[in-house]
């Protein structure tokens, strides 16, 4: 973790202990997450890799506070977010989710979107927030798109604007739920390098859900391979590839070894999920 920048205090450690999540639509009693435990270090990029509908998103939503947990606990920097006596975490700007299809406000320009958090929190005045937003967008190479509405820019740019919007809230953890899934392969690799660059500058902890093994290996410090539903870590891989990483690394021997090994681990789970006819994104 030598590349984690020293600009920030070491924060953003997430610990999940025995998390249980049950969906019970009309008594169906679906166990989505079953006694799932793992920890994410401050400044780490932790990739959650698992078959469709395995329950990864449930876990992410529990961390964000959108869903409650039916058992176990989640800690942020040793402070309990949810657990016994507190089933749902408070929703707050210290943990921000970037969604699969994006959640930029269509009626606000890119700049207004980025400045949204500090403005509604009253943390910064509007001009201050706009100045910060402008700065952060320029740092992320998004200069010139400030006044565009989300509908006017490409989906790749939208995703980057959304990550910058999240960062302006100074989150301890960034929760990314397959943010690049809808993008084409070329755009995606541009996104990956931009994300690594952002991470190197901010050192924010990132929990990143994906279906894509190469994406997981390319970005992550660690890859947590999840079991088919109910979801829990099957095996955790340390990605010992050097950083900074660029696209050339995918051709390296170590990269291919890691992807092959992870694919082998994931395959059995994907088959299980497939056999159940799991719909993509369903009950995930």
């Amino acid at each position: 973790m030598s590349l984690v920048s020293q600009k920030q205090v070491r924060r953003g450690a997430i610990r999940i202990e025995d998390a249980v999540k049950i969906y019970d639509p009309e008594g169906a009693h679906i166990l989505a997450v079953d006694h799932c435990s793992f920890a994410v270090a401050p400044g780490e990029i932790c990739m959650l890799l698992g078959p469709s509908g395995c329950g990864k998103t449930s876990l992410l939503n529990a961390i964000a506070g959108f869903h409650r947990l039916d058992g176990g606990a989640i800690y942020l920097d040793d402070e309990m977010l949810c657990g016994p006596g507190r089933r749902a975490a408070a929703i707050g700007p210290d943990r921000i989710v970037v969604f699969q299809n994006g959640a930029l406000f269509p009626w606000k320009t890119a700049l207004e979107n980025v400045a949204f958090g500090p403005v509604v929190q009253g943390r910064l005045s509007k001009p201050e927030a706009f100045a910060r937003a402008r700065q952060l967008m320029a740092d992320a190479g998004l200069g010139g798109h400030e006044d565009a509405y989300p509908g006017q820019i490409s989906s790749g740019l939208r995703r980057r604007v959304e990550i910058v919007r999240a960062l302006l809230n100074d989150p301890a953890v960034l929760l990314l739920d397959e943010p690049y899934r809808a993008l084409d392969a070329l755009t995606r690799s541009v996104m990956h390098e931009a994300l690594l660059d952002t991470h190197a500058r901010t050192g924010v902890t990132i929990i990143f859900i994906t279906h894509d093994i190469e994406e997981a290996v390319f970005l992550g410090h660690r890859v947590v391979v999840m079991t088919a539903r109910p979801c829990r870590p099957k095996r955790i891989f340390d990605i010992d590839l050097p950083r900074p990483r660029d696209i050339g690394i995918v051709a390296s021997k170590r990269f291919r070894e890691l992807t092959a090994e992870i694919a082998g681990t994931l395959d059995a789970e994907a088959l299980k999920s497939f056999a159940r006819g799991e719909k993509e994104g369903h009950a995930a």
Binding site: A64, I96, V97, A103, F105
Partner: protein, 292 residues
């Protein structure tokens, strides 16, 4: 298809704020040329049908029984100097404006309240759904009974016509708001009021606009029929100031058939004009939709 759609949507919005340089381009581009030719052809056909009355020994259906365009033009020219005709415009416009404004002013907050509160929805929606299938015109006699003036009863019927549409659109619009936008706003620390003001309200604005556009069309349908049924409200039988609907009816009763068509076309123009105004308002309210 796309060519024609282009006339209706972006151009008609721009019509109202064109720059002078844009006018020749607007008049002479291919879709405008086609539109002009098709309208002229339709008028020529109408003229031919109305004046010949018989084609190859067969009576001309429909067209054979209506006044010819030239007769309509002459009648229109005469009526242009008649204060009663303009009074009719004013009357109908006023009624539409009153009913529509009331429907918007009450319908939008009402719809938003229903959308935000499941409790309200549970209590109010059944009654709303029970009343909704009753056509506004069925309310005319009852409305005359319970409103003190005939004018108010016509306004009320117009209000009903627009109200249901606006409320349903607000409700539908609120349902389509992506829950993730609300979640994103909450994670960034937005309060309930902020979420309402910055997410829900702009989120339903396109639906409010769409509802208003449909509603303004309905109000013109309703006002004409209401004026015919109620005998023109305060205008009485004189024909002056009874509104455009009564103008048409009165022309029919008085046997001045070209005036019927003058009234019909006037209502068409009035309806088109007010729709254009609503659309203009809509593009002002939702600039992000224009900018795609």
């Amino acid at each position: 298809m796309t060519q024609q759609a282009a006339i209706i949507t972006p151009d008609s919005g721009r019509l109202l704020r064109f720059r002078t340089a844009a006018l020749p381009r607007l008049l002479f581009n291919r879709s405008s040329r086609r539109a002009i030719v098709s309208i002229l052809a339709a008028i020529a056909l109408w003229q031919l049908g109305a004046t010949s009355r018989e084609w190859l020994g067969w009576p001309v259906p429909v067209l054979g029984h209506v006044p010819a365009p030239d007769a309509v033009l002459v009648a229109w020219y005469h009526v242009l100097g008649d204060a009663g005709y303009w009074q009719s415009w004013y009357q109908s416009f006023l009624r539409v404006a009153m009913g529509f404004a009331a429907a918007t002013a009450i319908g939008v907050p009402f719809g938003l309240t229903l959308a935000m509160s499941p409790t309200c929805r549970g209590i109010v929606l059944p009654v709303f759904e029970l009343l909704r299938p009753i056509p506004p015109l069925a309310w005319v006699p009852a409305s005359i009974l319970f409103w003190p003036t005939q004018e108010l009863s016509i306004d009320f019927v117009i209000f009903l016509g627009a109200f249901y549409t606006i409320v349903l659109n607000v409700l539908g619009g609120a349902e389509t708001i992506d829950i993730r936008l609300v979640q994103a706003a909450r994670s960034m620390g937005a309060s309930r009021i902020n979420i309402f003001r910055r997410i829900i309200l702009p989120g339903v604005l396109p639906s409010i606009g769409a509802g208003m556009e449909v509603a303004i069309g309905i109000t013109w349908e309703v006002v004409v029929a209401a004026e015919m049924i109620s005998g023109g409200g305060s205008g009485g039988a004189s024909g002056a100031g009874g509104g455009l609907g009564f103008f048409i009816w009165n022309s029919y009763v008085g046997g001045s058939y070209p005036d019927i068509v003058v009234g019909m076309i006037s209502i068409g123009i009035a309806g088109y004009g007010s729709s254009a105004l609503v659309r203009l308002l809509q593009t002002r309210l939702t600039p992000w939709l224009e900018a795609r």
